[in-house]
């Protein structure tokens, strides 16, 4: 017994933290980065004047959908799906715009914090309903899509309100270098502060565990109901951030949500999150948002009929995911 115990430590493998090691462990995301570089080069090729200004504009316009993709990714990793992301963004956006109009900067700070709290609350209500009623996630969040959209129209019937100047400035323009848009920094900070520490904690493992195998998670001692509610609360928080980003980028609140919900689902699928749950991260979906936007930009620059460009986008989405699954299958067989 003691003899074998002595050999316990042998061959403990260490994780590689250099670039190659990280890329190997995140093959899908690495592939997406490659795709991103290809499309950036393509954009520059098609439109030689495309430069720092274009990237800044892109970053601002993509911040809301990137945050929506993060929200969706967290829920789907945990084994759910949130169709109310777009409506929550609209509701938090109009609420912030109505409250902020004509207020001082100091009050606006309080309002921003309150809106984040409101996002957590909306998400908690979504998750709580799912856990309490045992109605499937997709049905509850579909219903809440209508509920939150209705509230958004009650708060503000036509686009209006205002945004604190500092909030609008926080995502405009570059930081340090003209190639580093503030919106990108904001996104990195938000994800870095909220998601990264969480993902490395036991709570984060619980989110993955819940999405991967609910029964095994329960038997491993994961509080299944609470973890589910937490995943929706986080989605609510990121939707609120997305809503604030909408207000900040336009300066007003708009009660009718864009197609953020479905676009967020497309982004996470392209971003390597398994719709079955348990697999993926938030970096992939964020890159996927940019790739999808660049595809649209390129098609516009090429003068393609926008209706065709929608068709092409859909085809590319299927093609990339199929290609990825084929590669994954190869890897398993080898």
């Amino acid at each position: 017994m003691s003899a074998s115990a002595g050999s316990v430590d042998r061959g403990r493998p260490t994780l590689r933290w250099d670039a190659v090691g990280i890329a190997r462990r995140n093959l899908w995301t690495s592939g997406l980065v490659g795709l991103l570089v290809i499309f950036l080069a393509l954009t520059k090729f098609i439109q030689p004047t495309y430069g720092a200004a274009g990237i800044q504009g892109l970053a601002i316009s993509l911040l809301p959908i990137a945050l929506a993709a993060v929200a969706q990714a967290i829920v789907v990793i945990s084994g759910g799906i949130d169709l109310s992301v777009g409506s929550m963004m609209a509701l938090t956006s109009v609420t912030s715009a109505v409250l902020m109009k004509g207020q001082s900067d100091a009050v606006a700070v309080v309002i921003v914090i309150a809106i984040l709290g409101m996002g957590l609350l909306l998400g908690t209500i979504n998750g709580g309903l799912i856990v309490a009623t045992r109605v499937p996630d997709i049905i509850v969040t579909l219903a809440m899509l209508f509920v939150w959209a209705g509230f958004a129209l009650l708060v503000l019937h036509t686009p209006g309100g205002g945004a604190a100047p500092w909030l609008m400035e926080s995502i405009r323009g570059p930081l340090v270098s003209e190639w580093l848009p503030r919106a990108v920094v904001v996104l990195a900070v938000v994800v870095g502060v909220v998601w990264v520490p969480l993902q490395r904690s036991t709570v984060g493992l619980s989110l993955y565990a819940l999405g991967s195998n609910r029964l095994a998670a329960f038997r491993s001692g994961v509080p299944v109901g609470r973890t589910k509610i937490l995943s929706y609360a986080l989605a609510g928080l990121f939707s609120a951030l997305g809503g604030l980003a909408l207000t900040a980028s336009t300066g007003i609140g708009s009660p009718v949500p864009g197609s953020y919900t479905l676009e967020s689902v497309a982004a996470i699928v392209l971003g390597g999150v398994s719709l079955a749950g348990g697999r993926g991260g938030v970096v992939g979906p964020i890159i996927a948002v940019v790739v999808l936007a660049l595809i649209r930009t390129d098609l516009t620059f090429l003068g393609v009929n926008p209706n065709w460009s929608e068709v092409i986008q859909g085809a590319i989405l299927i093609g990339v995911v199929m290609f990825g699954s084929l590669l994954a299958m190869r890897k398993v067989r080898a």
Binding site: M1, S4, A5, S7, V8, D9, G11, R12, P13, L15, T202, L205, S206, Y208, A209, G211, S212, N213, L215, A216, A217, F218, R219, S220, G221, V222, P223, G278, R279
Partner: protein
């Protein structure tokens, strides 16, 4: 308080649980002494799993009292049970597929070093803790799950069919480690359908029948019969040997001139299956014996049409075939009964639909289903297999044994020519097992051919006419049923010559686990530790 009660580590009395009108437990009691390995026995549906669920906090009992080490015990979740010193290892490993082993340990807040220690003890010294659980074989997952449970030194460890589907070498290590828990202040509840294992490691056995405790037996030589009698109640009198020996020896004659139903020649697939040839004739049950991971999975995948072979030839009734899809195999009369019922059944649908599925799709793929004909066939199959249809509206509510009967019934209902059974009795109770042996014999008697892989060696003599042994992807032996006792099969499965001395680890199998605890073995029995 009754004197002596506090000496018990676990004392559960009068535990009852009903789900609506269905009574899962009427009045179960279970008393476990410290340092004891205690078997919990019972046919499927006797209430074992409900009792385990209650002890682990997954389900709350309606009535009854439970105390652990003299203190009243209630758990509302597995984590609370863990905190109370009660840990269970399930048939389905409670590991998260998308996390690596180390993250799984972190999730349950289990210290890593004790787990490593137990992995070494259990015969998996080279396991890479950064491997993704999804990519590990089931046998390794069970061992990891057990090592994780042992690492936190629970007062009460519950093991549900821990040895099911484990290869023989790992089974030995596991039984040996469990045996070592004796004499400590901790106890083990051991649930298994394998009486030989009960005899090897358990001190006492509590037997449940129809939701109530019907007896507590000291496990000694010859207690097997008593346990089986208690488990079966009035259903079957006598030991397993007498009722299962219903087949007539030598029922299958030599048939040099007859075309075999299946003729496999040098089948090969990847690195698993290298060279497998055999003939399967109508009217016989051909056993397949192999340690875990010797290529038997690939063989059955090929025969059932799920996978195409890389090499070799397959002839059905003399004609060369190449299956592209399970439907091709079914059309050629080859039907498949997997060990995992979930692979075969539509769990949310009714017994009737599950049985009717294959032949209604075949008879009229696009037209209307002939309801009258379907009902007759299904009723006949249900009656033949004695399927308990109280929960017939959803197959997932049936017990494991009854689910397996449904998988077999669907093929029987359509008329079966060749049946491929892959460990069909895995994790089901002894009564149902015997029904399945009998059914397999009856099918062969009626002219069907059956290929029967089993991880339980003693089933070969209970159900088969002869056996082929696969080792390293090759057929290494063919053994007539008279000679196919467990030692002979085990030798062949390890690819040892019949007269070779048994490696000491093999010899130790289930005979004297305590005595065999000292040497950890140098024989070939140790080689299987590395997962594929």
């Amino acid at each position: 308080m009754i004197p002596g009660t506090t000496d018990l580590l676990l004392d559960a009395t009068g535990v009852a649980k009903s789900y609506g009108a269905v009574v899962a437990l009427r009045s179960a009691s279970l008393a476990v002494r410290p340092g004891e390995v205690h078997a919990l026995m019972g046919a499927n549906g006797a209430g074992k799993s409900t009792l385990v669920k209650i002890l682990t906090g997954a389900v709350r009992p309606d009535t009854g009292s439970i105390s652990v080490r003299g203190r009243s015990y209630t758990a509302h979740s597995p984590s609370e049970a863990r905190a109370g010193g009660v840990v269970s290892v399930y048939q389905e490993p409670a590991l998260i597929p998308d996390l690596d082993v180390r993250s799984n340990l972190r999730l349950t807040r289990t210290p890593v070093d004790p787990v490593r220690h137990w992995l070494v003890e259990l015969g998996l010294p080279d396991l890479d803790l950064t491997s993704l659980v999804r990519n590990l074989p089931l046998a390794s997952l069970r061992v990891i799950d057990l090592a994780r449970a042992l690492a936190i030194e629970p007062a009460l460890l519950m093991l549900d069919e821990i040895t099911a589907a484990l290869p023989a070498n790992l089974t030995e290590r596991v039984l040996e480690v469990i045996g070592r828990q004796k004499g400590t202040d901790r106890s083990v509840i051991f649930i298994s359908h394998r009486l030989i294992e009960i005899a090897a490691v358990c001190d006492r056995a509590t037997v449940l029948r129809e939701g109530a405790t019907v007896g507590v037996v000291d496990v000694t030589e010859g207690s097997d019969d008593r346990i089986v009698e208690l488990m079966l109640g009035d259903i079957v009198r006598g030991g397993p040997a007498t009722s299962a020996d219903g087949k007539t020896p030598g029922a299958v004659a030599a048939r040099a001139s007859v075309t075999p139903r299946i003729a496999a020649r040098s089948l090969a697939s990847g690195t698993e299956l290298r060279d497998v040839s055999f003939d399967l004739y109508a009217g016989e049950v051909l056993g397949v014996v192999a340690l875990e991971g010797q290529g038997q999975d690939a063989l059955f995948d090929i025969l059932s049409g799920a996978e195409r072979p890389d090499g070799g030839e397959l002839r059905i009734d003399g004609a060369a075939v190449s299956f592209r899809h399970p439907a091709d195999a079914i059309r050629a009369g080859l039907v498949y009964v997997p060990a995992d019922r979930a692979e075969a059944l539509l769990m949310q649908r009714s017994v009737r639909e599950n049985i009717a599925l294959p032949f209604s799709t075949r008879v009229s793929a696009w037209g209307l289903i002939n309801v009258g004909d379907e009902r007759r066939k299904v009723d006949k199959a249900v009656a033949t297999l004695q399927i308990d249809t109280r929960a017939a509206s959803e197959v997932r509510r049936l017990s494991g044994g009854n689910q397996q009967k449904v998988t077999i019934a669907r093929w029987v209902a359509g008329g079966v020519r060749t049946m491929l059974c892959f460990d069909p009795t895995r994790g089901i109770d002894i009564g149902t097992k015997q029904q399945i042996y009998q059914l397999v014999r009856d099918l062969a008697g009626a002219g069907a051919a059956v290929l029967y892989y089993t991880s339980e060696l003693k089933e070969i003599q209970l159900a088969c006419d002869r056996a082929v042994v696969i080792f390293g992807g090759r057929v290494v032996a063919e053994i007539a049923v008279e000679d196919a006792d467990e030692p002979a099969l085990l030798r062949a499965a390890y690819n040892l010559r019949a007269d070779a001395p048994m490696p000491e680890t093999v010899a130790a199998t289930a005979v004297a686990v305590e005595a065999g605890a000292a040497p950890s073995g140098t024989g070939p029995g140790d080689v299987g530790a590395a997962p594929q």
